[in-house]
């Protein structure tokens, strides 16, 4: 590449600076002024062939007449995989970009879910940096733990920062449960691994040495106890880092005791599971449970060679020349029915809204836009 070549990231930063420069020239960050500029930039986007120059443009709010109006919304950021600044600042910039996206949402979400894998190698400095970035969020934070946060010190520092990895809370009539679903049976002692080697092994998606993820008997007992006092008609939303089903074992797109966890949830009328780890648009429905995978801010993952749930509409494969493509963040609209619609805010692409009715109808209704560039 020549010296005069501008990277996608440089272009993005310039466009963003110009965007906010325009806002400043309008004299005030009034809503009317903001809408005017946002409208103008949307026009530019359309002229460019539907490639959005800024990911923080206004997102069309999902229409939800059939399944109830949105009762409230929450946003998500996930899988930021932070290295410390001296090692690699690319993922830091992506995480900051996601925080800016979420802070630009109007109205603001009730809270922001972070989907796990805040750090890349579970280091204290990485987790501290992550917390510092997430403190920039205007809305309250709810966080779950990922394997990259855990296996250096077995969660010691993460717990110091964020508390117990399993907890539940009630919000506007919905019962939220956060699970620690990335427990692994001890594979490291037999191999004489140091904590750093254990972490590096778990961090490798295609490293077959490690065990499969599980909630584990203790975690399931906690869940059973937590749900015991909840009315069956109360909508349940579960956060877990790994998908609570079996997608692809070799990459740990997998929870070994998924069926047992699903059995604990199956008695409830309305259940939604929201998970990180897979870095892709991922949809599933098993029994009466809707599953949504989250996007990563760091990098997208290819779809696994087998096991992809039938209801998943693949996101187009990512442009390797654009560090942001295939990544993103998003928003959940919790309907009055307790069902959850999901907006995938894919950077540099049109956002994709998945209606809960698409999953409930087994793909009959509200099918999301078809895949144009499938996986190889």
């Amino acid at each position: 590449m020549t010296g005069s070549h501008k990277s996608i990231e440089t272009k993005h930063c310039e466009e963003r600076a110009s965007f906010f420069g325009d806002l400043a020239r309008l004299g005030a960050l009034s809503r009317r002024g903001f809408m005017k500029v946002a409208g103008a930039s949307a026009g530019i986007a359309a002229a460019k062939g539907l490639i959005t120059p800024q990911s923080f443009q206004l997102v069309e709010v999902a229409q939800a007449q059939e399944t109830g109006a949105p009762s409230f919304t929450f946003a998500y950021i996930s899988d930021s995989h932070l290295y410390t600044r001296d090692v690699n600042d690319r993922f830091i910039r992506s995480a900051v970009k996601a925080v800016e996206d979420v802070n630009a949402l109007d109205p603001q979400p009730d809270f922001v879910l972070f989907g796990g894998d805040l750090a890349q190698l579970g280091k204290k400095e990485e987790l501290d940096l992550g917390l510092q970035i997430l403190k920039g969020l205007k809305a309250p934070l709810k966080i779950m733990v990922g394997e990259h946060d855990w296996f250096l010190d077995m969660g010691e520092h993460w717990r110091t920062l964020f508390g117990a990895p399993q907890y539940s809370f009630d919000h506007k009539g919905v019962h939220f449960v956060t699970l620690m679903s990335v427990q692994e049976k001890d594979f490291w002692t037999a191999h004489g691994m140091s904590p750093a080697e254990r972490m590096q092994t778990v961090a490798g998606l295609d490293n077959g040495l490690q065990s499969r993820f599980e909630v584990g008997s203790e975690g399931r007992a906690w869940l059973k106890n937590d749900l015991a006092k909840i009315d069956k008609k109360t909508p349940i939303v579960v956060f877990s880092h790994s998908p609570l089903y079996k997608y692809y074992r070799n990459w740990n797109f997998w929870t070994d005791d998924a069926e047992e966890v699903q059995a604990l949830l199956s008695g409830f009328d309305t259940v939604t599971v929201i998970h990180g780890h897979t870095h892709q648009m991922l949809l599933n429905r098993i029994g009466n449970i809707n599953f949504y995978g989250l996007l990563s801010t760091a990098w997208p993952w290819p779809y696994a060679p087998e096991g992809l749930p039938k209801l998943t509409v693949q996101m187009n494969r990512a442009d390797p020349f654009n560090a942001f493509d295939g990544c993103g963040d998003g928003r959940m609209d919790v309907l009055t029915s307790g069902m959850v619609d999901k907006v995938y805010n894919l950077w540099n692409r049109n956002p994709v809204t998945i209606r809960s009715s698409y999953l409930v109808s087994g793909g009959e209704k509200h099918r999301p836009p078809a895949t144009a560039l499938a996986s190889y």
Binding site: Y83, N88, G204, D206, R317, P320, F321
Partner: protein, 225 residues
């Protein structure tokens, strides 16, 4: 029909096992010629004969070569009256539906085709070693020469989404036709933030070996987007 000398066979395989320590290999020191004629040694490391009327560097006809070989074997058999001999099986595994033209003789032996299951095993192990080295580099940011702790597997677990079968193809973002190695080097320069490998860099060869091995069975489809 083809006769094999078991001593030769043993020597040949021994040399594969000790390939890394060539200075330790047994050497057959030939005796000096009594009258300046060519001296030829047998692969047992002991037996040799002088070829009457042929000086070193003279061309040897096929007939002469056969006579030399026969004389050496006769000498070896004389020294080893109890030596074990094995008759190589003729290759009869052809396609019965398409037998092809009738062979001119019963024996189509050629040196190039004279390999055994054990040979295949050795070759496969050598190939797998290169693939394993590629896998190691693929998963190791430092081995890639990276400066930002990024390795290939972070975006391409098991080499997925590398689609080597689609190259060469017009790489739109580069504005030119690219080979797999061009894209490997692009990744090394950009996300990995390292220096691209030279075309003959053994690391590049190993990476190509690993990536191709991961796609065994996929049909070649060059130019595919």
């Amino acid at each position: 029909m083809r006769l094999y000398c078991t001593v030769a066979l043993a020597l040949g395989l021994g040399s594969v096992g000790a390939a890394s320590a060539s200075e330790d290999l047994p050497r057959h020191v030939l005796p000096p010629s009594s009258n300046g004629d060519l001296v030829i040694g047998l692969c047992d490391g002991e037996t040799s004969i002088e070829v009457a009327g042929v000086k070193p560097g003279d061309p040897v006809s096929g007939d002469q070569a056969q006579k030399i070989a026969d004389a050496l074997m006769q000498e070896w058999r004389r020294k080893h009256p109890d030596g074990a001999w094995r008759v190589a099986a003729a290759d009869t595994a052809g396609n019965p539906a398409n037998p092809g033209p009738a062979p001119a003789t019963k024996d189509q032996f050629q040196t190039y085709g004279a390999f055994t299951d054990r040979d295949r095993q050795i070759w496969q192990e050598s190939t797998d070693k290169l693939v394993a080295e590629g896998k190691r580099i693929f998963h190791d940011a430092k081995a890639l020469g990276g400066t930002v702790a990024i390795s290939c597997d972070m975006c391409h677990p098991d080499g997925s989404n590398t689609h080597p079968e689609t190259y060469p193809k017009f790489q739109v973002q580069l504005g030119r036709v690219a080979l797999l190695r061009d894209m490997i080097n692009w990744c090394i320069e950009n996300p990995v933030r390292g220096k691209p490998f030279a075309d003959d860099d053994p690391r590049l060869k190993a990476l190509e070996a690993y990536i191709l091995a991961q796609r065994k069975g996929f049909a070649l489809d060059y130019g595919k987007h």
